[in-house]
């Protein structure tokens, strides 16, 4: 993360007529019907919509977990749509951190091991994986729970581990798909405070949610309905809570 909070000239993410359909013939489902927008580097964008509105499809496309049916997607000015498998893997490993609703931690691994997992797939072999993982876990407030396994931690703690994992390779962009969907209100706000803190330090952040009070943390809101953007508004973000800042 660059220490300063600035908006770069080149957009971090750019979508042009991005479309995704599932199935074929009469069964065809239009998940995304050609959306165009760009997200600047350092922005904090909330993507809202009911289930089936296409917001998760968009998150998967931006996270390079899925491929668009048509249209163009550029991340960091690189055309994702035309990348090879290995290039996509590198993108997922180096440029993008993905945070899942269900955390997706490896049950048999400790917090440390979970956070170190992406480093296994990094070509850079002279990094001190353990030091890096410890630093990231410290950053999300779990410096004391390095050797806990997921089943020894609360949902909020597990999601923090997942965030530390998403950050471990120092990505430019973090995409969180319903990061608070499996958490209670208290934990939800702690997670959002953590994420918006990271954004303030320069991280481009995209949060998929259907809860307005989660979306309120963002400084831009994209609202989806039936696979299209129906609203794109900039808003005054809710500041991270004082409680989170002291931790």
């Amino acid at each position: 993360m660059s220490g300063s909070h600035r908006v770069a000239e080149l957009p971090a993410i750019e979508c042009v007529e991005l479309a995704k359909t599932y199935g074929r013939g009469n069964e065809k489902v239009f998940a995304l019907r050609g959306v165009s927008f760009s997200i600047a580097s350092g922005e904090f964008v909330a993507i809202m919509g009911a289930s089936g509105s296409g917001k998760s499809t968009l998150a998967n496309l931006i996270g390079a977990l899925d491929t668009p049916t048509s249209g163009e997607l550029r991340i960091d000015d690189k055309p994702v749509s035309s990348m090879s498998c290995d290039e996509l893997a590198r993108l997922r490993n180096q440029c993008i951190g993905f945070v899942f609703q269900q955390f997706n931690l490896m049950a048999r691994m400790t917090a440390m091991e979970n956070v170190m997992l992406p480093l296994v797939y990094s070509s850079n072999s002279n990094i001190d994986a353990e030091a890096l993982a410890r630093m990231r876990l410290d950053q999300v407030g779990l410096g004391q729970r390095l050797n806990y396994r997921p089943n020894q931690m609360s949902g909020g703690q597990q999601q923090r581990v997942a965030i530390a994992r998403a950050l471990v390779n120092d990505p430019k962009i973090v995409i969180a798909d319903e990061p608070t969907g499996a958490l209670d209100t208290n934990n939800s706000h702690e997670i959002m405070s953590l994420l918006s803190n990271l954004n303030e330090k320069g991280l481009t952040l995209i949060v998929i949610t259907h809860e307005p009070d989660i979306a309120a943390y963002a400084d831009r809101l994209l609202r989806f309905r039936d696979g299209q953007i129906v609203e794109d508004i900039r808003q005054r973000r809710m500041r991270a809570s004082a409680k989170e800042r002291t931790t």
């Binding site: 490993n93 296994v120 797939y121």
Partner: protein, 406 residues
């Protein structure tokens, strides 16, 4: 991903399903141990044969009249006699030692113990022809052959059957009712292909002719075999040809009547042993191969289950940057690790099995480095061969489908 990291991951994954991994490995364990036992048995048996050949020497020729089975031609059967031996001694200077031999079955008795064995009635030179080694006592000499001496040399098996652990020297045994004094025991020779090489007694040929009835001998001067040792330095094959030619001439055999006489040497014996050996080797190899095949299919099956169970894990790994080949390698490493561990166990079991087989067959325990290498390579091979399809299936998953699957 480094080799070490792959291996560590594989061990962790296998340990999560320890029982399942162990059960899956059984086929490969059995297959590999079969290969090791086979390698060791082949080497051990060959060593034994070599040792026996070295004892006897490869320059021994054995002449015999071939039995004619066809009743119509029986009248034309030839017979080796003492006169043939005399002629050989006169005409073939390249033969160093020559011994007459007759043999048949006989019952030997000591006290209340009796034992059916084969007697060999021979000249004293028999000991020179076959380089006979004794564990006790001595062989009989020419004077004893000339005087029909009632002396006998026992094979190790006969000694054990009649005397147990006691020394038979100077004891009297009854052979066909005739009391004969034991003067020597031949050193143990072991068994070849399950056939005991120590079940015999050796007597002077004159004694055998005088006292032991032999239904196969229609002439008092008839011989079962003529045993000859080629003079060192002489061309064995030429001597063999000369011996056969001389005997054929003496029996007035024409070209077409070749099958009535036979001169063999130990190379033929070696070839015969090798043929038996290679049949055995093939059989064992086939068994081991089938076991490995079945074991391999078991590995493939369990790896497919493992891949299906861990679909979400695969999805996550792809989502955080694993390439197709990382996933492929992860699962290949798992099946190869399983197979190599099975291979190591199979090797240990195989060595133990080889020791048992070697002990039972009385041949030396030989584990060649090559069979250890083969065991290892086969294990890796089975792991790669049967792990590839499941690993390929894992690597072909798209992250979104893998993550969604429950």
């Amino acid at each position: 991903m480094t080799f070490q990291a792959l291996f560590r991951e594989a061990i962790t994954a296998l340990r999560l399903n320890l029982l399942r991994s162990a059960l899956t490995a059984i086929g490969v364990i059995i297959g590999v141990s079969g290969l090791v036992v086979m390698g060791s048995a082949t080497a051990g048996a060959n060593k034994l044969i070599e040792r026996q050949i070295a004892d006897l020497g490869t320059d021994v020729l054995i002449a015999r009249a071939v039995k004619v089975e066809n009743a119509l031609r029986r009248g034309a059967a030839v017979m080796l006699t003492d006169q043939d031996t005399n002629a050989i001694r006169e005409l073939l200077p390249n033969i160093q030692f020559l011994a007459r031999e007759i043999f048949s079955n006989v019952t030997v008795v000591v006290g209340n113990t009796s034992w059916i064995t084969q007697y060999w009635g021979v000249d004293a030179s028999y000991a020179d022809v076959f380089n006979v080694k004794l564990s006790e006592g001595r062989f009989f000499d020419d004077a004893e052959v000339r005087s029909n001496a009632k002396v006998v040399v026992l094979g190790a098996t006969v000694t054990r059957k009649l005397f147990g652990a006691l020394s038979p020297l100077d004891q009297t045994i009854r052979i066909g009712g005739v009391p004969v004094r034991v003067i020597g025991v031949r050193a143990k020779r072991g068994s070849i292909g399950g056939e005991d090489q120590d079940n015999f007694i050796i007597l002077p040929i004159t004694t055998a002719r005088a006292h032991l009835p032999n239904s196969e001998m229609s002439n008092p001067r008839q011989l079962s075999l003529i045993d000859a040792k080629v003079l060192p330095g002489a061309d064995r094959d030429k001597v063999k040809r000369d011996l056969l030619a001389l005997l054929r001439e003496r029996k007035h055999l024409q070209g077409s009547q070749e099958d009535k006489l036979d001169v063999s040497d130990l190379t033929q014996f070696i070839q015969m042993m090798n043929a038996t050996q290679s049949t055995l080797t093939w059989l064992l190899s086939a068994t081991a191969a089938i076991s490995l095949l079945v074991g391999g299919v078991g590995i493939m099956n369990i790896m497919l289950v493992s891949v299906t169970e861990r679909t979400q894990e695969i999805g996550l790994r792809i989502a955080i940057g694993a390439r197709k080949r990382d996933i492929l390698m992860q699962f290949l490493a798992e099946s190869v690790t399983l197979c190599v561990l099975a291979g190591v166990l199979g090797l240990v079991l195989g060595v133990a099995g080889s020791a048992v087989v070697a002990h039972a067959s009385e041949w030396p325990l030989i584990i060649r480095p090559s069979s250890v290498a083969v065991a290892f390579l086969v294990s890796v091979g089975v792991g790669v061969l049967f792990g590839y399809l499941p690993a390929q299936r894992a690597a072909a998953m798209t992250p979104i489908d893998a993550l969604r699957r429950e």
